[in-house]
């Protein structure tokens, strides 16, 4: 793409990432969550991939790292779900809510970030998985398209 597109993409990129991170972290307070925020962050990465030449994208993005991010997200999601057994509850039991400490605070009408129990954790891990999954999908398809042209 042209230099104008590249500059604009570079300028917007950090803000898109910050907005995606905000949507993920505030998933239990405002509309949005892990899936939506992860998709926003992946869109920022897709913008960079679309704006820059293929050779530089290929060197800048490491598929191995993204695969690890994706798999780690899903594994930690399952780990949080299994951790419900620690408290003697069932699978996916929200044992952190109202227990004090991190994410165990009391919810207020204005919204308290330190609430929700396992929900913020699950949001973050799903966000990681969606971010890795969508970006790696784009990279796979980009490699395929380059081969044909």
């Amino acid at each position: 793409m042209s230099k104008i597109v590249r500059t604009a993409a570079n300028l917007l990129f950090p803000f898109v990432l910050i907005f995606g991170f905000y949507v993920i972290v505030h998933g239990h307070l405002t509309p949005g969550g892990g899936f939506q925020g992860g998709a926003v962050m992946a869109t920022g990465l897709a913008m960079i991939i679309a704006a820059h030449p293929f050779g530089r994208v290929k060197n800048a993005f490491r598929k191995d790292l993204l695969k690890v991010v994706e798999a780690t997200g899903l594994t930690l999601f399952l780990a949080v779900a299994v951790s419900g057994f620690i408290s003697g509850g069932p699978f996916f039991y929200n044992w952190i809510a109202h227990a004090g400490g991190l994410f165990g605070g009391v919810p207020t009408a204005a919204g308290n970030l330190n609430t929700g129990g396992i929900i913020p954790l699950l949001n973050v891990f799903v966000g990681l998985e969606v971010l890795g999954a969508l970006t790696i999908m784009i990279l796979y398809m980009l490699a395929g398209a380059k081969e044909n042209s």
Binding site: A81, N94, P107, G116, I119, I136, G144, E147
Partner: protein
Amino acid sequence: MKQLWILAATLIFAAILTFLISTGDLTFGQPAMADMDDYYIENGVEETGANNIVTSIVFDYRGFDTLGEATVLFAAVLGVGVLFRKLNTEEEEAE
């Protein structure tokens, strides 16, 4: 012929919908069983500590469903990887 089929299907669907609405069997916005919804709205914030009731359902009450969604996404990436693997330059060089 194909357009006739589509027209017939649309007409039949519209007729059934009109019949159901007019006889009162099908209502919109007035669910016959709202106990579950009322429970979530009344106890969701207390039980999960999340202000966003949609998230508290998706990630807490229906967490198992979300696990399935995440697994579907994982499988989709696996499918894309399998579909595009021949076109990868690195693999063709290795062969």
